[in-house]
């Protein structure tokens, strides 16, 4: 602690910042990525994405010979077709995870990110660095979405790998359209993943808004999942008529249309509009709220 040290810090620029401080350099995406990666919940969630296809595969191996009818409909046909090839296995894995597992995972990454910092008390130290609040939110959101996307890709990638190793590289089959050649099937699969990602933006938006609004990570994650479930339940009530189109989860299964030939894009497009619009609203509210908030945690 010599006088030169102080002198080094006593070069106030126009902003009065300490030497070496630039607002744009604080909390880089990379730093936040490592920050989140160090957390057990991130590792567990990503690990589970790898594990799930293996569990499903094992279940299919053990479940040979069960000849109970599985309800029919497109779900039944997916079960029947799941073991016809790696692509179909991937499709089945995505199908069984889309409605709940992926919702929980996305809610976890997006809902936990700010609220957990608040609950640890580290949020105030980040803001005192100072990381500009907008930047903090932006980096946190980018990283949360990045981990969500990584989860999706890990799930699909693992399923495709183990499914192909076990069941082979065969055309993508469905009961509603002709078989798709493997190359075409991969494209369709990517389109399905893309649509799922856009659809999950609703959950991401809601979870992130709740994450900013509360100090309890569990509340943010659980709240987003609960509201998502509520929306799904309301969607079952046909008496609501056209109002159901406003429900964020109404178009959540529109990706099935991507499997037909020609591709049915109408509901996919509407679902994308719904997802993007809701996410934009939720994120705008999150920013609006956080930039004005008194951090008292």
């Amino acid at each position: 602690m010599s006088a030169t040290d102080v002198a080094a810090g006593r070069r106030p620029g126009a902003t009065g910042a300490a030497a070496g401080y630039r607002p744009g350099a604080t909390l880089s995406v990379r730093a936040e990525w490592r920050r989140q990666l160090s957390r057990r919940r991130t590792q567990v969630a990503l690990g589970f994405m790898v594990l799930l296809p293996l569990i499903v595969l094992a279940a299919f191996q053990f479940g040979n010979g069960g000849d109970d009818t599985n309800g029919g409909g497109e779900f039944g046909s997916m079960v029947d077709l799941a073991t016809t090839g790696g692509l179909n296995f991937t499709l089945f894995t995505i199908f069984v995870s889309a409605s709940f597992l992926l919702v929980v995972v996305v809610a976890l990454f997006c809902g936990d990110t700010v609220a957990s910092e608040a609950s640890w008390g580290s949020l105030r130290y980040l803001l005192a660095i100072p990381v500009p609040r907008s930047r903090l939110l932006g980096v946190k959101l980018v990283v949360a979405l990045g981990y969500s996307a990584l989860s999706l890709l890990l799930l699909a990638g693992t399923a495709l790998t183990v499914g192909t190793l076990r069941y082979g590289w065969h055309p993508l089959r469905s009961t509603i359209a002709a078989d798709l050649s493997p190359g075409q099937g991969v494209l369709r699969l990517l389109a399905v993943l893309g649509y799922l990602a856009v659809g999950l933006l609703v959950v991401a938006g809601l979870a992130f808004l709740l994450s900013v609004a509360t100090d309890a990570p569990l509340g943010a994650v659980g709240g987003a999942v609960l509201l998502s479930i509520l929306s799904s339940i309301l969607d079952q009530i046909t008496a609501l008529g056209v109002l159901r189109n406003l429900l964020p989860t109404h178009f959540s299964s529109a990706w099935l249309g991507l499997l037909s030939t020609p591709v049915q894009l109408d509901d996919v497009v509407k679902g994308a509009i719904s997802g993007i619009a809701y996410a934009a609203v939720f994120w705008s509210l999150a920013w609006w709220r956080f930039l004005r908030k008194d951090i008292v945690s």
């Binding site: 102080v6 106030p12 401080y21 630039r22 005192a128 609004a213 109002l243």
Partner: protein, 935 residues
């Protein structure tokens, strides 16, 4: 959901200011208004009146019959065109109610009625006979001609269109052929020749030798059962497109139990045909009398023909014959196919929308004179898959300029192969293949597993896998040869789409029955017969095969009852497949793609604008630097913080921290210390006043915050990381050079030793506290703000911390320490600011404030006597303090004070000099927090 969301948001935003409340209220109002628009029904634009009209009809034109009618009259004053809306077989005026309302809403006067023989209308069923049902309808036209609200083309000639499905469609055609007053017709899923419909022969034979369509005929005739009531198809209004509905053929008392409400001649014809399974000349004549085929050359009303692809009762050939017959005389005809029909129902929503549009366009032009001349082209649709959301089908619509007929606009030859095969005709036609189930809905024709051919009873001829997708639209043709020991045979031909995995599906669920006569017993001598297969629309994917199956029996048809074994072979082995290439009809939902594009672009532009504005604002100096304080680490001026709920945490605080000072912010719990520090860290915005750091105003995120190191409200670490990792991760977040961090110094201050490599989760409170102080000192900031730094530390560590802080403040740095501990501030700080209830009550150097106070505390044996003695001595004030007295000695030496008291006989136990800081602090803290205020 929407309002629940608002409520949820409201809870999520705890402090609801009036502005926020107003905003949320506005959002709620908009949502409620939107709901109201959606949910509140609009008043109908028409009046509905029911009446039993007695019309004079029958062969003599003068036999009264009572018809149950319902009239939808427009409310608007000027005359409008009328629409006669006829129901399907077994229906009543009720079953077309939804369609009637749709048309009435479009501005038509709509007259619906229950045809004779049905519902509450009188007389019996004559199957759209010209003398009966058609004449009834002519009388209804007469009635419309008397209505003032109906537009008239001339005296007794109303402007009128006729719309109907199935039985109603047949009436529309017959009426248009027999009455020139009809201006436009929209017959749907109806017949051209009723005898051919019930006695078809795909080999081109006459109806009298046709194969009896037993299942459908029985369904129609069955006593007490009803046909596909009200299936008009235009609105798909849930009017019961599938399944027998109520209101069927009742059997009133005294009616012949055999014939029900059928007219005697109709009944006789059915009984004779159904008994033998063969047509009779009389029966065929009767059926032909009720067929539009007889009047097509007289139809001048523009005709929109709508026919279903899943319709084994009235297949595409019927509409094809109608279209050809009407168009031959120059009358405008348009043909539309959809994926429903008598088997398939109203079809998917996209099809229903398309038909509704076509119907409205046709009527609007030819009745109202609105809109351009509708094309006389051809539109059709093809099932492309399941709808992902409502589990129905999705169809793609196509159109061409010209109706090519069932032969298609082009043909593809597909080579079939297969040896001659024997096929047994089962006795009495049982067991038989199940290819279509009347009224079962589209599933029967689309989903695998329903279609079942009986082993041994059919011959298969299969093609090679098709190389390119094949768009079949129309009726394929194939030639076969057959041999029969009896010299005749009834065969059922089916065209299957066979997927590579072997699953076969039968498009449309349709079968081509053919009766062959004069057959040799030996297949070698058999001559080829060309059979026209049912009309279908189907895309055969590449790799799929086509298979022609020739079966000997079918549950829907009546075949020979004698068991026989036929031999079936291919003719020339060529399957002529009609193809058609049309332009896809853009789905109305395509507009949403533009909406999506617009949304994405709008969001991108909005984000860019926000980022641009934010960058501009960041570049511009946020506040001017106050040069007077440019070298002062901290100046707090008139700081006030009131929370939204009205609680004032800090009412007014002013103080300065100068270089080299260690300033103590002293006050009891709740005095406003932490709130003040929160403002200093940019976590909270002050209500009034400000804080300057080196002359820069502090706001949330102000860059000058980077020159402050802070510990506020306890440590905040990532519990799953070690202490060292936490410090490194924190420093990485600052984005500053790692060399500036001075980790060694910070770690030395933390004094955690090897524990720095343990996870923070395992730390004690004191260890976290020391780590937090080390974190605050990272980079050796010029101003260190520590909130209760000694909390959780043991005495030796506290002593060490005091030394560290004092040393830190040398070299021009400054430290601000908050504490509720008097001793701590006294021993650590150079200056002190005492706050209480949000206000500064004392401030200055510790030496000055702590220095010898003029007051002294005396513990005496007799308080009253002592007070009297001291009063005499001329001290400034005397106050009782428990067992003792606090005396402001006012310059009088303490020794003299004690001497006087002793002299007066008052015992003195203790004499304690008081310090100013303690005076001030205790005065503030009072009794309430003495326990916590001293250590």
């Amino acid at each position: 959901m929407a309002t629940a969301l608002v409520a949820r948001l409201r809870r999520a935003l705890p402090r609801m200011t009036r502005r926020r409340a107003a905003g949320a209220g506005a959002v709620a109002l908009v949502l409620i208004a939107a709901l109201a628009v959606v949910l509140v029904p609009r008043p109908a634009s028409y009046r509905v009146s029911d009446a039993m009209l007695t019309v004079r009809s029958g062969p003599d034109g003068n036999t009264p019959v009572r018809l149950d009618t319902r009239y939808y009259a427009p409310k608007s004053g000027r005359p409008v065109p009328a629409v006669l809306l006829a129901h399907g077989f077994g229906g009543t005026k009720e079953t077309v109610g939804e369609d009637a309302k749709t048309l009435a809403d479009r501005g038509y006067a709509v007259l619906t009625w229950t045809a004779r023989g049905f519902g509450r209308s009188g007389d019996k069923i004559h199957l759209n006979a010209p003398d009966y049902e058609v004449r009834d309808a002519q009388r209804l036209l007469d009635w419309l001609a008397t209505r003032p609200e109906v537009r008239q083309d001339g005296p007794g000639d109303p402007r009128v269109g006729v719309v109907g499905g199935s039985y109603g469609g047949g009436l529309a055609l017959m009426l248009a052929g027999l009455d020139r007053r009809v201006d436009a017709i929209v017959p749907m899923i109806t017949w051209n020749d009723l005898s051919r419909a019930f006695l078809p022969d795909a080999g081109g034979g006459a109806p009298v030798d046709g194969v009896f369509k037993r299942a459908w005929a029985g369904l129609f005739f069955g006593s007490g059962s009803a046909g596909p009531g009200g299936q008009t198809g235009i609105a798909g209004s849930g009017s019961g497109a599938t399944g027998p509905g109520p209101g069927g053929i009742g059997a009133p008392d005294g009616v012949d139990p055999t014939c029900g409400r059928f007219a005697e001649d109709v009944c006789r014809a059915y009984l004779s045909i159904a008994t033998t399974g063969r047509g009779t000349p009389a029966g065929v004549d009767l059926l032909r009398r009720s067929s539009p085929a007889t009047v097509l050359d007289r139809i001048t009303a523009p005709t929109l023909l709508i026919q279903g692809l899943a319709d084994s009762l009235f297949p595409l050939t019927e509409a094809d014959a109608n279209a050809a017959g009407i168009a031959a005389h120059g009358t405008p005809v348009r043909v539309a196919w959809f994926t429903g029909g008598h088997d398939g129902g109203a079809g998917p929503q996209t099809d229903q929308d398309r038909l509704k549009f076509l119907t409205a366009q046709w009527l609007d032009h030819y009745l109202k004179g609105e809109g351009p001349v509708p094309s006389t082209g051809f539109t059709w649709s093809r099932i492309s898959g399941f709808d992902a959301l409502d589990r129905g089908y999705v169809t793609n619509g196509y159109q061409t300029d010209r109706y090519p007929g069932l032969a298609g606009s082009g043909t593809t030859i597909v080579e079939l192969s297969g040896p001659p095969q024997p096929a047994a005709n089962p006795p009495a036609g049982t067991p038989a293949a199940l290819s279509s189930i009347p009224l079962a809905g589209a599933l029967s024709s689309f989903v695998n597993g329903v279609v079942r051919d009986v082993p041994g009873q059919h011959a298969d001829f299969v093609s090679a896998p098709v190389e390119r997708p094949l768009e079949i639209a129309g009726a394929p043709r194939v030639s076969i040869r057959a041999a029969s020991p009896t010299g005749s045979a009834v065969l059922f031909l089916k065209l299957y789409d066979v997927a590579p995995d072997g699953t076969a599906s039968l498009p449309g669920g349709q079968v081509a029955p053919v009766r062959l006569t004069g057959l040799p017993a030996d297949i070698a001598e058999a001559g080829p017969v060309t059979v026209t297969l049912p009309g279908v629309v189907r895309r055969i994917e590449a790799g799929h095969r086509l298979r022609v199956t020739v079966a000997t029996a079918d549950q829907a048809y009546a075949g020979p009852v004698e068991p026989t074994v036929y031999t079936v072979a291919l003719g020339d082995g060529r399957l002529t497949v009609p193809t058609i290439s049309g332009t896809p009809i853009a789905s109305p939902a395509a507009v949403w793609r533009w909406v999506l594009l617009g949304l994405v672009v709008a969001l991108a532009v909005g984000l860019a604008v926000v980022l641009f504005v934010a960058r501009r604002r960041r570049r511009a100096p946020r506040t001017r630097v106050d040069d007077a304080y440019a070298d002062v680490p901290l100046v707090v001026r008139g700081l006030r913080k009131a929370y939204a709920d009205g609680f004032v945490a800090v009412s007014r605080v002013d103080f300065e921290v100068r270089r080299g000072q260690v300033v103590g912010l002293l006050g009891p719990n709740g005095a406003g210390k932490t709130t003040t520090l929160r403002v200093l860290m940019g976590l909270t915005r002050p209500t009034a006043g400000d804080a300057l750091v080196f002359g820069h105003r502090l706001t949330p995120g102000a860059p000058v915050l980077s020159r402050i190191g802070a510990l506020v409200e306890g440590p905040g670490f990532l519990p799953h990381l070690t202490g060292l990792e936490n410090l490194r991760m924190y420093w990485r977040s600052t984005g500053r050079a790692a060399g500036d961090a001075r980790f060694p110094e910070a770690l030395e201050i933390a004094g955690l030793g090897e524990s720095v490599h343990r996870k923070v989760r395992t730390y004690s409170h004191g260890m976290r506290q020391r780590l937090a102080i080390a974190q605050a000192m990272l980079g050796l900031p010029e101003l260190l703000v520590l909130d209760e730094p000694t909390d959780g530390l043991d005495p030796p560590q506290i002593a060490e911390m005091r030394r560290v802080l004092r040393r830190y403040a040398t070299d021009g740095r400054a430290v601000l320490v908050s504490s509720h501990l008097l001793a701590e501030v006294e021993q650590t700080c150079t200056d002190v600011v005492v706050v209480h209830k949000g206000e500064v009550v004392a401030a200055g150097p510790v030496d000055q404030i702590v220095g010898e106070s003029p007051s002294v505390q005396l513990d005496v044996s007799d308080v009253d006597a002592a007070a009297a003695v001291l009063d005499r001595l001329g001290v400034r004030s005397v106050a009782a303090d428990g067992a003792g007295l606090v005396v402001d000695v006012n310059g009088t030496p303490r020794s003299e004070l004690v001497a006087e008291l002793v002299r007066a006989g008052v015992g003195v136990d203790r004499v304690v000099p008081r310090r100013r800081l303690e005076d001030a602090f205790l005065a503030l803290v009072g009794e309430s927090s003495r326990g916590s205020g001293d250590r």
